[in-house]
Subunit: 378 residues, 2 copies
């Protein structure tokens, strides 16, 4: 058996034994490698007591059979070192001994034509399941636009913002990846069966938990680090306080990647979490896809102009000229001394300013004096 295949088998086996991101396994794999750890368990040794927890699952563990079964369903299992391994995930390598869930996944079960090593500048778009139509519209629009710019949209296929993000990217014929908390053969939520099927045909559906596994709270939390880890940055569209999207936001911050949040009405509970992230300085407020792209593209690769109001012809005037212009009546022409008095500008200077304003087409002179031009009035 080749070393590569042995590594894949061991990781497939371990991914079936353990919950995603379990600290002990993460540390043991980092210390001794996946192959050695799996061998220990098969030898009935119990490093750090993990065999105790795995005993029941180990009884019917058969990674070779599982990889075959996956392949027959069009599902591949990719591991670190594979060509397809998305290198941006490597940043998840955690501090050894940290007690919280996390770290590199043992591997990823993947279904779909999109190759995960080709997501270079992906962006995660996440938010609440119970969102508003405003959130759906913004998430869909932003995702369509970033996808159109060639950027892959990562999300979690949940109700609400997640769904809108995937659909937005698909509507632009762009790349999109759904990261699930259950096996990639499960349709969760069930109502998204068609969306997930479509994603598996046109993008990719990814999970670190094996086929057949159900979603669990802890698996959602572990899954969120993969969403953050696959993106170069994360956009939170609507997230109420305690929303799962805030856990993805948290992971993004831990990874030192740009966290962005879309504001909404302060009267809207689903925007509370996003506002809090901006207030705390954790997230940058973003209002449009151009701002998102500017943050996730390598420095200088994508720049956009700041939104500006329309230019006015009077923008170029000196303050003296502007002052005189203000003093020129709209309808009835008046003499220069009246304008001088109103403007509080001396006669000579006022006269000069009026001639300059006439050149600019802002005032017109008649027998009775000066008044605003038709253009200046409109």
């Amino acid at each position: 058996m080749s070393a590569v295949h042995e590594e894949r088998l061991a990781r497939a086996a371990l991914s079936q034994l353990t919950e995603p991101g379990t600290p002990r396994i993460r540390d043991l794999v980092a210390d001794m490698g996946a192959v050695a750890l799996y061998e220990e368990l098969l030898q009935n040794r119990n490093p750090q007591g993990v065999l105790t927890d795995f005993a029941l699952r180990l009884a019917d563990n058969d990674p070779e059979r599982e990889l075959d079964r996956a392949a027959r369903q069009g599902v591949r299992f990719i591991v670190p070192g594979d060509d397809e391994w998305p290198s941006q995930l490597d940043a998840l390598e955690p501090v050894r001994g940290a007690s919280n869930r996390g770290g590199l996944p043992l591997g990823l079960w993947v279904k779909g034509p999109l190759r995960l090593n080709e997501l270079a500048d992906a962006v995660a778009v996440v938010g609440s399941r119970s969102c508003t139509t405003y959130g759906i519209d913004v998430a869909g629009q932003m995702s369509a636009e970033v996808a159109k710019a060639g950027t892959c949209v990562i999300s979690g296929a949940a109700f609400g913002i997640d769904q809108a993000a995937h659909r937005g990217a698909l509507s632009a014929q762009g790349k999109t990846v759904a990261v699930l908390a259950c096996g990639v053969d499960k349709f969760y939520p069930e109502a998204h069966a068609n969306l997930l099927r479509y994603l598996a045909e046109h993008g990719a559906v990814v999970s670190e938990v094996p086929l057949g596994w159900s979603p669990m709270r802890s698996r959602f939390l572990a899954r969120n680090r993969l969403i953050a880890g696959l993106g170069r940055g994360t956009v939170v569209v609507e997230a109420a306080a305690r929303s799962g999207a805030l856990s993805t936001a948290n992971w993004t911050t831990q990874l030192n990647r740009p966290l962005m949040a879309v504001p909404g009405p302060v009267t809207s509970a689903p925007s509370e979490g996003a506002h809090q992230l901006i207030r705390n300085g954790e997230a940058t407020l973003v209002t449009q896809s151009a701002e998102v792209l500017e943050m996730i593209k390598p420095s200088g690769e994508y720049l956009f102009d700041m939104p500006r109001g329309p230019e006015h012809r009077r923008d170029g005037l000196s303050s003296c000229e502007a002052q005189v212009l203000e003093a020129v009546p709209v309808a009835r022409a008046v003499a220069v001394d009246s304008i001088s008095r109103t403007a509080g500008i001396g006669l000579v200077e006022a006269g000069k300013a009026l001639r300059k304003l006439a050149e600019e087409g802002l005032v017109v002179q008649s027998d009775h004096g000066w008044k605003l031009s038709r253009d200046a009035r409109s």
Copy 2:
């Protein structure tokens, strides 16, 4: 004539000769004092050429008569050094020689029972004239709440956000001050005649330009520094790009006072300016009056709790207990080994966790094993 009266007369005269914030006058007053400068002009001397600009206005200048006329209309003219002078304006003292408009006003024409030295922790609430009902609602609500807390609301009596801010404060029987770009005897905009009359009866209407003067573009810009200068901080509710509210925002930043902005839908043009201020880091995002009060009250005087989601009973569980709880079925009770396998937690630990969860009322034991309690399901 007393020195105090002489100073007031000179300043009243100068305020009738010059446009607000004119750099030359500001610097001359700072250098030689208002009384000496006025004397120079009366002697037909022309320091820095100001007489040239003032000649026509000087011809019919009579400050004594003007102060009398004001008094008959219930308007007082207060100057630096007066008991009623609002000391927070002194921060407007500009860098000598700066070419932009600014600096301390020569004095303030005031109408209304509210004394300006009693606004200690006022807040400016400003925004676009062309605002949305969302902006009106938020500005009104926030202003009512900060006014209820004893804080005076400063604004500009314009259409839109300004009006909502004044009305909000009045609805809470709170303090509010309108700062105008025209004389305090003018009703501008005309549609706000009743509002301005009410403000002059219950709060204060203030301007640095004399009675009878009309609003002008440059007077609005100068006026905005007074709105920023009277507040301990400024809240921008809705401001499109190039909105006048952004000039008030700018003055606030120059004064090193807290600038706050209320977000709105990113699809709403009137929120663009507010979002830009937050993105640039110039303004802090605020969503409610408590956040505003926290920023403008002296440190520690006003604190509020961060918004939090509801507490859940499972918040206190260890990760092992949470994992086991996830593995407990909702309806059909199952044996501990099934739960152990699903949870990926050893039999002994799983059993311990189940007993703890039962104590917490989250799971119940029956003859067939364990299932979720009614409470845990809801």
